[in-house]
Structure formats: C-alpha cells, structure tokens
Symmetry: C2
C-alpha cells in the first residue's frame, strides 16, 4: 500500500537530489511539467486551466496520503487504508468500523475523524535566492541553524499569523537546486462519510499486498467541513466508466520520498545498516502484534491498524533492500558518482564551485555509522504516550526560544497543528500500548546493553514489562484534557508535573537533544550541503548536454503529477492483463481470512455485472504517499483511485523501470457498482454523479 | 551462547574448505595438532597419552553441544543451556526446573533426559581413498547418489550391526581433501544430576548474551548410564583453582560449522539472501514468542526454551551478517578467490586437475537463488508434530529402499537413533505448538503467495489459525506410543492413517522430494565437487609454499582441539580484564529480570569469598557447538567451562581475529563455590574432588 513510510524515524536521511527521466518516469512539479514528452508521446498539451483545476481539486492528508475532491460540497475520495486510523479511533467495543465499514445516514451524521488534517495547495513561491542568502558561507551546525532560522522566517511570513487556515512548508527541490515555499489551505475538520468493509478494501490482505492481479475496493469517502458546514472547492468530475486499456492517465498526488539520486555510499549505508536494522525491529513487532491479535476479538480490533502498518512497511522496505541487493545496481550508481566527480574534476572552475561532495557524504556517513543503532533504539522507544510526553516537554522548551531558533514542528506557524495533535481524542488501548512500550524498551536494551546511560534512565532497576506497566498505570496522559492542560501550562506546568511519563520525558530530554543536535549538525547539514552540490553539478551537466527538461526532483511529499498508460506487463512467460473484474474476485475468494468476502458482497453477486472492471494497472511513476491519488484522464475527470504498486515498483524509491513498474488502482466503475448495488449508498452515488449534495 | 545453529534449515550449505591459521587460530583435529606452533609459542609438546586422555574424556551431545566426563562414575559437565530441553521437558505445572534449577538427592533419583544422546569418540579412520573410488567420474545427481551409497556402506560396516552402541559419521574434512569415518560410543541413557537456577546460569539474559564482562554459571551436571548403572570412563580431573591470567589453555569440543574458506560468491549469497531471510523470519518468531510469554506464567515456562533458542540464533546470525557487511571483508575474499584461480590457470596441468571451480559454484548458486525462498518457507512450516509426521512418512518410504539408496538419517545404522527420537517422551504444549504452526503457515503464505501449490496443500481454503487449530486438535501424534506404532507399522500403517498430520505429510511428501532432490543434485553436489577442487588446490598451493601445517579444516561438529591464552582485550580506550568475580556479579544485579539473582545467591553473599573468579575470557578459537567444552590446562585438568564468545567472535564463522575474538568460560573455582556454599551439593562437590561417587 502506497502510504508514506511514516513509521520511519526522521533520522533517516532522505535523498533529494534529482533524477533523469526515461519513458514515463517522473514525479513532476506542476510548474515544470514534461510538456515536450507529453506532446511527443501522446499529442497532449495541458492548458493552464487544466493544470490549475488539477491542483485545486487535489489534496493531501497530513498523516501521509493523497486525496481528491469529488464534489462541490467537500466530498473527498481517498483509500480505505488512508482512513484506517480514523476508522479505528471511532470504533469501540460494539462497533468495528475498521472491519465492518461505515456509512453515514446523512451529512449531519458524519462523525469527525480525530486529529485528521487535509491540505489543499494554494500557492507556490520560489525562495531559492532568499534561502541561499541566509545560509551563505555557513557550514555544519551554523548552516543547520541558519536553515532553521530561514524556515522560521519564511513559514511565519507565509502563514501571515493565521496558522489555523494556512499551512506553509519549505520544500527543498533538487536539493540545493531550488527551494520553494508551498502554502496550503488547511482543513482540520474532516469527517467520515463512507467506508466499505475491510474484507473488500483489503481483500487478499498481506499475502496479496503489492501484487497484481488484485481485487480490492480500497476506498473511503470523507467530507471537509469549515465552520460546521461542508466546504465548496473545485473538484474532479467522477467518470463511472473508468479508463480504457492503452489510455493516457495522470495521477495527482504527494509521493513521499525517493532516493533516485542518493550517492552510492549513502545507499550502501541504507542497504547494510539502516534497512536491516529497521526490518529486524519491525519483524519483531510484527510477531508480537500478530500474537497479540490472536488473544481475543478485542485485541484483534485494537491491533489491526498497527499490524497493518508494520506489515505494509516491512513489505515495502524489504522490496527496497532487495532492489539494492540486485547484482549490478550499486555498481551502476557508483559508476555514475565517479563519472560526475570526474566531470567536476575536469574543469578548474567546476572544481571550485562543487568541490568533492562525495567525500563530504562519506564523512557524514562515518559519523552516522557510529550513532545510528544507538539513536534508532532510543527513537523507537519514544512513541505512544511517551512520545506525547516528549512532545509536551519539547513544546515547553522550544516555545521559550525565539521563533527562529526553534526546532522544526515548534515554530509559531506550526503550533495550531501541534495543539490539534496533542488534544486529539485518540483512544488509548492500555494493553496494546503497554505491550508496545515494553517491546520498545526490550529492543532498546538488546541494542544498547544493560550499562547504557539511556537504558538506565528508561528502566532504572525494573524489567521492561514492569516498567512499562508502571508508566502506563501511573500516567494521566491518555486523557486529551490533561495533555492540553500541560501544553497550555508551558514550562512551569511541565516542571511541576509528577506524571511518570512527563518525569521520564524530562529526564530523556538531554539525551534526545544530544541525538538531535548530532543528527542535525554532523549528519543532516553536511549531507544537505553535499547533496546540494551534487544536484547542482548534475543540473549544470544536464544543461550542458541539453537534457535539463528530463530532470525532475526526488519526491518530497508535495504535489506532483505523473503520467502513464493503462497497460499490463510481461512476467516471464505470463502476460499480466491490465484489468481485473468482479468475476475474478469471486473466483479468488476461499472463504477464509484474508480471502473472505463480506456477506453483502456474496449476497450482491447475482445483481452485479461480473464483467465490470475492478482494479487496473498503469505505468504511472508513483511511490509511498501516492495512496489515495486520483487517476484522471485528458478531460480532467477521475477514472480511478491509486492504492498500491506491484512488487517490482517497490524498487521505485531507487529507480523506475517502465517495463515492470506498475501503479495499481481501483476502477471508478467498480466504485460506482459497489455504492449502488452492494451498499445501496444512493445519496452518495448521486452526489458523485451530480457533483453536489 | 555457543550452541550449534541447529535451528538453521539443512538446506543452508555449509562451507567446508580449509583455513590457514594465524596466531592462536584453528580448530584442529586430534590427528593433526599444531605441534610446531605449540612448541614455538608455549614450549608445550603434548604426549600421545595426553592426547588420548583428552579424546576419551571429551564428549558430544547429539543435540548440538560439547561436554566432558569429570568423574569415573559417568558424571558429565556441560552448560545449563545445553540441558535446556531436558530441564523444560522434565518440568510440569508444579516444577519449573528450567527456571528454578534441579538437584537430585542421590544417584537413584537422577531422572532421565528424554531423547538425549551423548557420544564419545572411539576411533577415526581415513576413508578418503575409498570414497574417491566410489564417486570417481560421477557428477550432479549421480555424484550425490554415489556419495549417499558410500555413506551407507561405510557407516553400516563401521557400526557392525550394533547401532545401539556405535554411532558412525562420515566426516568430510578439507572438503574433498580428506574423508574420515568417526566412530563414537553412543549413550542414550543420560540423566540429570544438577542444574543451578536459570537466573544465575543465564544472568543478564539476552541483553548480556555474547558480551563480556559476564557473571554466569552456565552449568549443568549429567550422568551417563548403561544397563541401569553409571558408566566408567576416563575423565578430566576437576581443578577447583581455575586458570591464571596468561596461562595456556585448551578447549576440547565440537565446533559446529565455519565457512572460513567459502568462495566469495557463496558468502555474498549468504549475506544478501540466506541470512536476511532467516533473520526476518526469526525476528517475527521472536516477537510472537515474546508476546506469548507475557500472557501467563504457564506460557512463559512453555516458551522460554524456544524463545532463548530464537534470540540466541538471531544474535549469532546478526553478528555473522554484520561481519560480512564490514567494508573490505568481501573484497578480500574475492581477491583471494581470484588469486587461487590465477594460480590454477598459470599451469596447464593444474588447470586440468582443478578446472574452474568458482564458476561451478556460481552456477549452483544461480539455481539456489531461484529456489531458496520457496524451499525455506516450506521447510520452516515443517516442524513440531508436522515435522514428526513428515519424518514418519519419510521413514516408511525410505525403509522400503535398499540401504545404499536411502537419504541420510534413514540408513540401517541410524534407525536406532531415529526410533529413540520418535518415541522420546517430549511434552507437547498444544497452545504453543498451534501458535508456531499457524505462524509458520502465515510466513509461508506471505513468502509464496496465495496461489502457490504448496500453500494450497497446507491451507486448503482455511486461514493459518483455523488450519493449525484443526490439525493440532485432530492429531494423536503428541502421544509417543502412537508415533512409535506408526513407525513400526511402516508403509502400510502410514498409508492407512487418517491422522490429519500424517495425511498432510503424505500430501507434502512429493513437494518435499522435489526440494530435497533439487537441493542435493543441483546445489549441494556441484558445490561439494567445486569446493573439493578449491580445497585441494589450496592445499597443493600451501604445500608448494611450505605452509601445509598451518591448515586446519572448517568445523564439522566433530572433535577438535583449540589452544589459547587467558587474556582480556582492548575495546577502544577501555581495557577489558580477563576475569570477573562474585563482587562484580552482585554489583551488576538490579533485582529485576534478567538481572535478578536467585534468592539462594542473595542469601549466600556473606558466606562467599567475593574475590573468587567467576567468568573468564581466553583467545581460544571456538564457534557454535563448543558450548559445554571443558577448558583444560597443560596437566589435562579441567579449569573452566566454555559457554559463550564475545560479540566480536560472532564473526568466527568467517574469520578469526586474535586481537578481539574471545571465548567466554565459567571458572571452576566459581563452580566449586556455587556447589559448596550456595547449593550445599556436598556429595557432588566431593565427587568432583575425588573423581568418583
């Protein structure tokens, strides 16, 4: 499933250099679309109106997904798995909306999704020059601080004191090549309209995840409210006919992160250190959650969303590391790096401008190699209510500083979002959270050893099970009102608190500061500088070779357009057709989990046209974060809903292979049939057809 | 902990080429000891009597450990963790011997360890020429079959029809370089004499595992019986003073498996495919077992031994893969391979004899690359009672063939051991086994996909949880009598059985035969041939260079001697002293698991001499399988008990680094103090002092 890998610790360095597009490769910014390629390959020339309409009808879910407006009354379409958290949070002992689905009787009965935020792009401003001015001549910690200050100034200015309505992100494209300020219209009242059963949304479950043929309707419908009423925005017309084989289609979404131009040395570090560490820890979590889910119906319901996230992340990360271990992949990247350095070295002026960036990357990696395991083990423990406590302690600490000196996430312009997150009415499952906390502490001690200072702080003389139970039983942070009071009380309230989670967070704060500062000053800042130089050199070289319009920036969880064709692929001797249909779905059902169809679907079989297209694949270049993206046609109408990629596309973080990478979508014709024939959601179907309530 | 990695599937190809010893490196066969090195470095020349006494006083536990006789009345010393299975099997709802320890009131009260076998080396015969004659001119499947037949003939002849008393193993040393027939005196009545509490045997638990300083008394005492009476054998005199820093010490044990001369291509395959696959699957198991153990005291007791095995394996395999990912390690091995091929190519005669063995290895690996994940997933599911069922079906199938055509494990000479294994009174924990079976099936489906033929066979239309429960509820195989009856009933009884485990095993048998034959004929046989050629070329080259006496064979879980010095090491700026003592142990105790000392140890503190040596490190070259090895001095007296290696030694599968690799032992002075002062096991202490009951 194509969610952004939000589970990854932020210490993981994202690559943000630039790629060079082949065939239908590319995640293009809307101000730099591949006009020549579209015209040459498809004879298509999008108008300014077309582009603007696509931007304004698209949306981003702050938690890590993409979405689209599909009616003028705030109706939003995204994936079922993008609403997992909402469906779980709204469930209780008598309702399991995650598993059984949900349908609001009418607009007034649509419940709010706790903590959910939707953003719609409003404006993009190039601030490359201003950031360059503010960081000029600085290195290491000074460079990091100057970047932080630039971030503060720019976002503050952009939000104009109204962080409730505007969200501003400084987006570094082509690494140092371009810096842009993205302003989004922010919506924090997002409600649940409809979701089908999990057994059709994720039919085939983990075994089928990232495969094709597929038979999923991975859909949820949300509605955006403002001042208690549905908002009115531009929207995509819903085309219930779906696409045709061979048709040109676009996806408008927010791919999260690619590293298509990360230097070979950094990729080697990912392959040999970062990814194996994360995969090991996630695998242990998977086993613990799997067993927890077997214990009772209640535990199953509590843990299902977390287990899904872990399994999805595992499959995705395993795909990435497998791609990195393919014979020849690293050798190719190493040769490219050497060639670029040789191009730099061939000219004294270039040598002066770009220097030896690959050596700088290696120096930063040498530091990260020393600290990575330690930092990851601690970061992994700080989650759930302990994560909230650390956030509260940080908020108190950071708000005492001038805005420009604060860490990301604590600038004035970001405080509205922070407050919403802190006070969100997310249910806390004590058993589950005690378990994950104890497991985190166990893992931490395994990785750092009994004698580590942080381990002493966290555990004292207790075992992980004892300590986790003590913290969870003693804390009041499960209550949103308590969290909000501590937030509003600031440093004084935090200092005075005897809540054991806050006490521990206070003790951990110096340890975390050391980690954060080392990461920022000794790893991220020099990497950022070096990768910027690499990106600029690549750009200059491409321009010199007349290839600048084949370049696109690595993904940054900001709006991008990708184009492609509805098309199957060849798997050895087997031809994979681009479409599946309802008939195939009924054939694929064994009757047992996760190949069990919901009863409503079994009942509806005689009434459905079994040849209706269900899911399809296309050559669009997508990655995690594109989940929930609309698939649109030349007319700017929505014909599908991205929800996954095939197994080959898991290498998409690193490279795009037009022969084998495929995006996987649910067809709008299947969505319409499901709403009308299976769920009898007539009002909703009508809203899609008419474009309004 | 230095047990052999018995959890690894047998499909994992062991490297058995030869190493070239540096410093105190080497696991020497007793007929090829490093005489020159011992004399030069230590002025020590072991006599034939000394050597013979060491051989006859040493022992091997068939399950994967080493041991030693320490009295003339069959008393055997090994590790606590080598008796884990026995301690767990003898426990019940009211006794947790694994956790609480055990002490027999007298010899008549010593209970038998179910299924435990101890072997003592009796005779070694060189059969290189005979095996060469029997396999000459054969390749692939023919070669594999000829080897199988040679194995059958040689072991049959060696056991002389008395498999109850003799165990015969064909051991391939230096790969094709030497083949030896090892005959062991076999003992199948091994009883439990004494074991301390788990909390002192494995004080520090998983966090401290493979680290030093350590504070463990990883001891168990067994007794070997024959015809209902203790056996009388040569034995090591127990020296309760322990060793001194700088002293020359030997370990006599059975290192399980090294791959110090595996070609770089095969190591790369281990690093990139085999080890990541196993680590991922083990990590998931670890999480599931960890959570299972949290559910109740009963589950904790049931799962503790399995969880220990998984965590121990994980730490060990992670160390191996980390060593393989160290910058430069693979490059060095690749350069060595190229140099050897160049040496071969430099001479037409050599070229004719050795050919291009590295190319052959690569061809075999290409096949394994296709099949590994598939085969591993299936092998992983076949364990517990399903494993027993497959064994019973195989036993019926194989016994219908002439002895020379049977698979390893089913030759006439091996049937006594097989029958003992099948009828061992090992308790079956239904909850635990249902869980591990369901997890195995879940993993299998994750790895192979819903549409795989083997997945269809195993699951039908059921979910893993449903299917595992159905199998476990329907089977009668938990009863040893039922298993024995099916074994004795042969093919007819197996065909007639309606036990669901047997039915499934019958259905799986053709799938498993395909896997076994492919593995044997297309992977193992050509690898064996190629590695034999590599080993012979290395040997010839070493002889030409006058270095033949620095060569020792890769470990093969057969008796070896290693020598070394009691010596700490340097860890960055820190000097690690060679000894710990009781004072350090009390300091290291936090009071909570796994740093909680048993009450008897807290009570005994005033009566112990706190400066008594507890654990020590030495430079002896050991790996998994050496667990339980005696540490002996020049006089041939036992001064310590091997139970672990430090973290650096985890790379010992691949290379030995005298600067950093250390073996970890419990000091005999601590053992004596524990027996006398803590456990008041006066009769046992006296037996050790006097050498008889």
């Amino acid at each position: 499933m194509r969610v952004v890998k939000r589970l990854l610790p932020t210490l993981l360095i994202a690559g943000t250099a630039l790629g060079s597009a082949q065939a239908e490769e590319g995640m293009w910014t809307f101000d730099h679309l591949p006009a020549r390629q579209l015209k040459q390959q498809y004879g298509f020339e999008p108008s300014a109106e077309w582009i603007n309409h696509v931007i304004q009808s698209s949306a981003r879910l702050a938690e890590g997904c993409s979405a689209s407006f599909v009616s003028g009354d705030g109706l939003v379409m995204t994936n079922h798995h993008c609403a997992n958290t909402c469906l779980t949070d709204l469930s209780d002992k008598t309702h399991d909306y995650f598993h059984d689905g949900f349908s609001a009787a009418d607009v007034s009965k649509e419940p709010q999704c706790p903590g959910m935020e939707l953003d719609r792009l409003d404006q993009v401003k190039d601030v490359t020059g201003r950031v360059a001015d503010m960081t000029s001549g600085k290195h290491g910690a000074d460079y990091a601080k100057a970047l932080q200050a630039a971030n503060s100034v720019l976002t503050k200015e952009c939000a104009g004191g109204d962080a409730t309505h505007w969200r501003c992100d400084v987006v570094t494209l082509y690494h140092g090549g371009q810096t842009a300020l993205y302003r989004y219209r922010r919506y924090q009242d997002v409600r649940l309209v409809m979701a089908p059963d999990q057994d059709i949304a994720f039919f085939g479950g983990d075994p089928d995840n990232f495969t094709f043929p597929r038979y999923d309707i991975d859909l949820s419908m949300l509605r955006v409210f403002e001042d208690g009423k549905p908002v009115h925005t531009p929207f995509f017309k819903f085309d219930p006919k779906g696409p045709k084989a061979g048709e040109l289609v676009f996806t408008s979404g927010n791919p999260g992160r690619t590293q298509r131009s990360l230097p070979a040395s950094a990729l080697t570090f990912q392959r040999d250190v970062i990814l194996p560490t994360i995969i090991g820890v996630y695998s242990t979590s998977e086993g613990a959650l799997w067993q927890y889910s077997r214990e009772s119906k209640e535990h199953l319901i509590e843990a299902q969303n977390t287990l899904f996230g872990v399994q999805n992340g595992l499959k995705s990360l395993s795909g990435t590391v497998k791609a990195l271990r393919e014979p020849g992949v690293m050798e190719k990247r190493e040769a490219e790096d050497r060639a670029l350095q040789a191009w730099i070295d061939a000219d004294a002026e270039r040598r002066k401008i770009y220097g030896e960036p690959f050596k700088k990357v290696e120096a930063a990696l040498a530091i990260q190699r020393q600290s990575y395991g330690h930092d990851f083990a601690i970061a992994r423990t700080v989650h759930g209510l302990l994560g909230d406590a650390v956030m509260l302690v940080s908020a108190a600490q950071e708000r005492q500083k001038p805005d420009a000196e604060r860490r990301a996430g604590y600038h004035d312009a970001e405080l509205a979002e922070l407050e919403a997150e802190i006070s969100a009415k997310v249910p806390v499952h004590v058993d589950l959270e005690t378990m994950t906390l104890a497991l985190g502490m166990t893992t931490m001690r395994q990785m750092l050893g009994e004698d580590d200072a942080a381990v002493h702080l966290v555990l004292g003389t207790k075992s992980p099970n004892e300590r986790a139970a003590e913290l969870m039983q003693g804390t009041k942070l499960a209550d949103p009102a308590q969290r909000l009071a501590l937030y509003k009380g600031g440093a004084k309230a935090i200092q005075a608190s005897t809540d054991p989670m806050i006490v521990l967070a206070r003790q951990l704060q110096p340890v975390l500061d050391v980690i954060r500062n080392r990461s920022r000053d000794q790893i991220e800042a020099p990497m950022h500088e070096a990768q910027g130089a690499i990106a600029r050199a690549q750009f200059a070289r491409a321009q010199a070779e007349g290839k600048a319009d084949t370049l696109y920036p690595d993904a940054t969880f900001s709006p991008r357009l990708s184009y492609g064709t509805v098309k199957g692929w060849q798997e050895g001797a087997t031809t994979i057709a681009p479409f599946t249909n309802f008939a195939g779905m009924y054939k694929h059902a064994t009757g047992s989990d996760p190949f069990r169809l919901p009863q409503v679907w079994l009942d509806a079989k005689p009434h459905l046209t079994l040849s209706t297209n269900l899911d399809f694949v296309s050559t669009n270049d997508i990655v995690g974060g594109n989940s929930g993206s609309p698939v649109i046609n030349r007319q700017g109408n929505v014909v599908g809903l991205i929800f996954d990629g095939n197994l080959d596309s898991l290498a998409g973080d690193l490279y795009y292979d037009g022969e084998r990478n495929r995006a996987v979508s649910t067809d709008t014709s299947a969505i319409m049939a499901a709403l009308k024939t299976v769920y009898h959601a007539d009002a909703l179907a009508q809203e899609l057809e008419q474009g309004h309530l």
